[in-house]
């Protein structure tokens, strides 16, 4: 009768001897399926990144719109000359320089304020470029050289604003 009791006692004590950190305590025991897993004292696992956390522009990148509702960047992807078709890329970010939820209703309007006129936009095309916040603008036509302003109006995250980019055409 005593021997089974001793066996039970050994069975009960043995799991208890395996508690504690395997690093510090030198314990190599594997936990049983129902036993809670105790991990080392580290930081909680990071939340997967989503759009709200993704910063698109650094503080020195992009141009803020007139009312501060979004930030945009204009990059020329061809030589910028007069009387020839020119291409560009437009990228938008929300007001806090993160990936915006939606960008629509883009108007790309080159103007020459000192002369009081614009240019022909009949050939101009604006298409999404891979991601929903970047766009290719193709077949921009500057009718003459001089000091121009590109006035871009867009609805970013349901708010409409305008951003201006200066450009000198030879």
């Amino acid at each position: 009768m005593l021997f089974p009791k001793i066996l039970l006692l050994i069975a009960f004590v043995s799991p208890l001897a395996g508690c504690g950190s395997s690093k510090g305590g030198g314990d190599d025991r594997q936990p049983t399926p129902n036993e809670p897993t105790q991990t080392p004292a580290t930081k909680p696992a990071a939340k997967p990144p989503d759009q709200d956390d993704q910063t698109l522009f650094s503080l020195t990148e992009g141009t803020t719109s007139t009312n501060g509702l979004f930030v945009a960047k204009l990059e020329w992807t061809s030589d910028v000359v007069a009387e020839s078709f020119v291409n560009a890329k437009l990228t938008f970010a929300s007001r806090d320089r993160k990936v915006p939820q939606a960008v629509t209703d883009i108007v790309f309007d080159p103007q020459m304020p000192s002369m009081g006129h614009g240019t022909s936009t009949e050939d101009q095309k604006i298409v999404e470029d891979v991601v929903h916040y970047a766009f290719k603008v193709s077949d921009i036509y500057f009718i003459m050289g001089g000091k121009w302003e590109i006035r871009v109006t867009a609805k970013v995250d349901n708010t409409i604003d305008t951003v201006t980019f200066p450009v000198n055409i030879p």
Partner: protein, 300 residues
């Protein structure tokens, strides 16, 4: 050949020759000017008619910082100008001018009537041979009607071939001083032109006041041959769009010209001119071009 045939030959020659009346200053080379009013009556003339042809080219835009850039638009502009003048009194005359203009680019061309203008002068001081140092002093006034299509109404914004005028009617007034009784003939004039505001597509444009100063020096080589050289300084105040002054829209242009007048008969004069816009000194927000013109004038 009798006198009548000589006149016909001259008229035909002028029609066949393609040359230019010196262009007024343009904001940009392809912006259009509408034409100018070149006819002046001397005190002894009652009626005078003018027929001129001109051609301008080598256009360049001058940027706000003074650098050159591509002009765009037509590469050559031609004009045929008809004008007639009437003396209302020994001190007053009026003229009416209508330009016919042609834009040329590569193999394409388009023509249009320019901006007609009505102008006049009143002599405050008349010259006399008794005192050659007494200058002729005239008040100058005029009105130019915006008739020709401007860049704000262009239906061809890629080539601007349909742009012939500024789009703005102008009222002008000024003074002209001229020493015409000596072999050397210096002159000075100061004109002010005020364009009238106008709206295009719901946007209101108010060009600035224009101040044009001219210094000239003529010389009578012979009784029938006079040459004049001169410089113009034209400054235009900034443009306002919907009440907002546009940056870098003030314009400055210093141009130069040389003119030769030959009296082929007592009542017929042939004039040949060369001019260059933005020829010297400081220029900004304007255009550079070269022009050549030939004109025939007949007084009755």
């Amino acid at each position: 050949m009798n006198y009548f045939m000589i006149k016909i030959v001259w008229i035909i020659a002028f029609v066949l020759v393609s040359s230019q009346i010196p262009q007024p200053v343009l904001a940009c080379a392809s912006c259009g000017s509408g034409g100018d009013d070149p006819l002046i009556l001397y005190p002894n003339e009652s009626i005078k008619d003018y027929f001129g042809v001109s051609q301008s080219g080598r256009f360049k835009n001058i940027d706000p910082d003074g650098s050159e850039s591509t002009a765009g638009g037509p590469t050559t502009k031609q004009a045929m100008t008809l004008a007639t003048g009437r003396s209302l009194s020994p001190r007053t005359f009026v003229t009416f001018t209508v330009p016919f203009m042609k834009n040329i680019r590569d193999d394409n061309s388009r023509s249009s009537i320019g901006d007609p203008s009505l102008a006049g002068r009143y002599s405050l001081v008349l010259q006399t041979l008794d005192d050659p140092w007494l200058p002729q002093v005239q008040l100058v006034y005029g009105y130019k009607l915006a008739n020709a299509r401007s860049i704000h109404e262009s239906r061809d914004l890629k080539t601007l071939m349909d742009v012939f005028g500024t789009g703005f009617s102008e009222i002008k007034a000024g003074i002209d001083i001229w020493f015409g009784m000596m072999r050397w003939k210096p002159g000075f004039s100061q004109l002010f032109s005020m364009p009238q505001s106008r709206s295009f597509d719901g946007v209101n444009y108010q060009p600035g006041l224009i101040a044009r100063s001219t210094l000239s020096l003529g010389y009578n080589w012979f009784e029938t041959w006079k040459m004049t050289v001169g410089v113009n300084r034209e400054y235009r105040r900034p443009l306002r769009v919907d009440g907002v002054t546009q940056d870098d829209s003030a314009q400055l242009n210093h141009s130069a010209f040389v003119t030769s007048d030959v009296m082929v008969t007592g009542v017929d004069t042939v004039r040949f001119s060369l001019s260059r816009q933005a020829a010297l000194l400081q220029n900004y927000s304007t255009s550079r071009s070269d022009a050549i013109s030939l004109a025939y004038m007949h007084s009755w």
